[in-house]
């Protein structure tokens, strides 16, 4: 009797998910299964080719370049953003005008990529505004988007767009720390520096994991600006996975695309599961 009631309840619960899940199956899971299938098939005749596509992709120079750039970008941009946001959050958290400045930092989130692209073109052109300003203080400029500097411009764009987002996340973490701990530490004679390193930082550990994941998620979106400013074939320092996929798609190289997609999702899956594990172990 009990088990029937339980089954009934479990079906009822699943009904809430059902509409969403059907859509997920049609628009996400089936396509993914199809990507996996395609990664083992030839592009033209759909013949089974085993791991041939994977071998081609791994030997492909464009693929290696895109992987290198995407990895380098992620490895630099995420730590820089997270640290800078932490610094800002700690200072802004307790201050009177923190709210206004936080709003200013959040504003770029609302600026559509097209509008950003227009500004970037004027700023970073070889005869653009940035070079003009630099000339004013006696520094030689550069053709920013067509040299290696493009990478750093993209990095700055990412930080510019996401700083507010991460500050809000850190502030939420800071708000979760009870003030009693600080009071107690001060009574025991702890200074500001000690409070920060022995109370604030350890207590922010759990926020740290989520902020990393969300910053990672947002790092894919920097492609929007990169694409609108530099098009399909930007300077090779900012040729990302997204550019590669777009170009392969246009060239009908579906075999290579599928193999690369499976590899990318595999790497992401491992990363996500590792982070999840770290998350769960922190929760106990």
């Amino acid at each position: 009797m009990r088990s029937i009631g339980k089954t009934h309840k479990s079906i009822r619960g699943f009904l809430w998910i059902l509409p969403s899940f059907l859509g997920v199956v049609v628009f996400y899971l089936l396509p993914y299964a199809d990507v996996v299938r395609r990664s083992f098939l030839g592009a033209v005749d759909n013949r089974f080719v085993g791991l041939e596509n994977y071998k081609t992709v791994i030997g492909n120079t464009a693929f290696l370049l895109a992987v290198k750039n995407t990895l380098l970008f992620t490895l630099i941009c995420i730590p820089v953003l997270i640290l800078l946001a932490l610094l800002c959050a700690v200072v802004l958290y307790k201050s009177k005008y923190g709210g206004i400045i936080k709003s200013a930092f959040l504003m770029p989130m609302a600026l559509p990529a097209v509008s950003v692209a227009l500004v970037w073109r004027v700023l970073f052109h070889s005869q653009g505004l940035l070079n003009h300003w630099l000339l004013g203080i006696g520094i030689a400029g550069s053709d920013w988007m067509n040299t290696k500097n493009a990478f750093w411009i993209l990095l700055v764009s990412y930080i510019w767009k996401n700083l507010g987002y991460d500050i809000v996340l850190w502030m939420a973490g800071l708000a979760g720390i009870s003030t009693n701990i600080y009071e107690a530490a001060r009574v025991d004679g702890a200074g500001e520096r000690q409070c920060f390193f022995y109370i604030t930082l350890p207590n922010l550990k759990s926020s740290f994991f989520t902020i990393t994941v969300l910053s990672f998620l947002n790092s894919f979106k920097v492609f929007r600006e990169a694409y609108l400013v530099a098009g399909d074939y930007p300077h090779e320092s900012i040729y990302m996975m997204q550019h590669l996929f777009n170009n392969w798609f246009r060239a009908f190289s579906f075999d290579k695309m599928a193999a690369a997609a499976v590899m990318e999702s595999g790497v992401l899956l491992v990363l996500i599961l590792l982070l999840q594990k770290a998350w769960d172990s922190k929760e106990e």
Partner: protein, 309 residues
């Protein structure tokens, strides 16, 4: 007497605040000023592109080609840009609103895509989030992990097969082909889940004892109590879908279906650079309004991703 005490308290409070700010060490008043100068400078840099766009959209074509000719027209020298236009004009806005039917079409496409996705998420996403938050079912944890993984999967991984699926349903070159995958995005489910989980179980139980049906619980309990979470989701969703690039770029060939977010007029042409600015500002305005109206919700939505169960 009381005011005096309050004054003293205020002073102590102020001191403490100052001490927190100087967490790097004993910087004193000068250090305090330096920190704030740094922040104001940083905020100015962050806001500069917005001021730039608005100012440019109000300049006449002559003024623009004067300042930006070096970039767009291949003139000698460098681009220059004042904070405010010398001769402000609304000509470009008038031009866009009266003489550019294609701009209107794109604006409506953006509206259709954004609201189509948001309405769909509101129906499908809230239900799923509610199910995950308050019901038990087989493999619930597995489903939830699956949703989280899908939320983190970049668009490019599924782009090819998404295209084939849409083709199967004859949805390529159709706005529905952009809207439907957005509706079933798992990110809003995750964010709303965080808000629904907070609703105390006892509230549900007492409503059930009063004879409320499950559907009624959802309608008259989940939706109103979780409304801030839903709004937060809608604000995040608006900013995301209003600025969509990859999907329309891949799934739409027909120019009359393009949304504003991939519209960038040919600014190398003298007569068009002013319009590019005005179009950028007009694209930005709805997002700005949503941002200003929903900033509190936006922050709650962002934070919902960080707060643990």
């Amino acid at each position: 007497m009381k005011t005096k005490i309050r004054l003293i308290r205020g002073k102590i409070g102020g001191r403490r605040m100052q001490r927190r700010i100087n967490s790097k060490g004993i910087l004193g008043k000068a250090g305090h000023l330096v920190v704030w100068a740094f922040f104001i400078l940083l905020a100015a840099i962050v806001l500069y592109p917005i001021i730039f766009l608005i100012s440019g959209s109000l300049m006449g074509n002559d003024e623009l080609s004067n300042y930006l000719g070096a970039v767009f027209l291949g003139k000698e020298g460098y681009a220059d840009f004042p904070f405010l236009p010398m001769f402000p004009t609304l000509r470009h806005y008038v031009e866009i609103c009266l003489d550019s039917p294609e701009f209107f079409v794109m604006f409506w496409n953006s509206v259709k895509i954004t609201f189509g996705v948001l309405i769909g998420q509101f129906v499908v996403g809230t239900m799923a989030a509610w199910g995950f938050a308050k019901y038990d079912f087989l493999w619930k944890k597995g489903f939830f992990v699956l949703y989280m993984i899908l939320m983190l999967l970049p668009f490019q991984v599924l782009m090819l097969s998404d295209y084939l699926v849409l083709d199967l349903f004859h949805l390529t070159d159709n706005l529905w082909g952009i809207i439907l995958p957005g509706v079933f995005s798992t990110f809003p489910v995750f964010i709303m889940y965080r808000f629904f989980v907070e609703i105390p179980e006892s509230l549900l139980e007492s409503a059930r004892l009063d004879g409320a049906k499950e559907w009624q619980l959802f309608r008259s309990l989940a939706l109103p109590v979780g409304s801030s979470g839903i709004t937060a989701c809608m604000v995040l969703g608006f900013l995301e879908y209003w600025s969509l690039i990859e999907q329309p770029l891949i799934f739409l060939k027909e120019k009359s279906l393009f949304p504003l977010s991939i519209f960038l007029p040919d600014i190398t042409n003298v007569g068009r650079s002013g319009m590019a600015f005005a179009a950028s500002v007009i694209t930005f305005l709805p997002a700005l309004l949503v941002f200003l109206g929903g900033q509190d919700y936006l922050e709650q939505g962002i934070m919902a991703g960080a707060v643990k169960e």
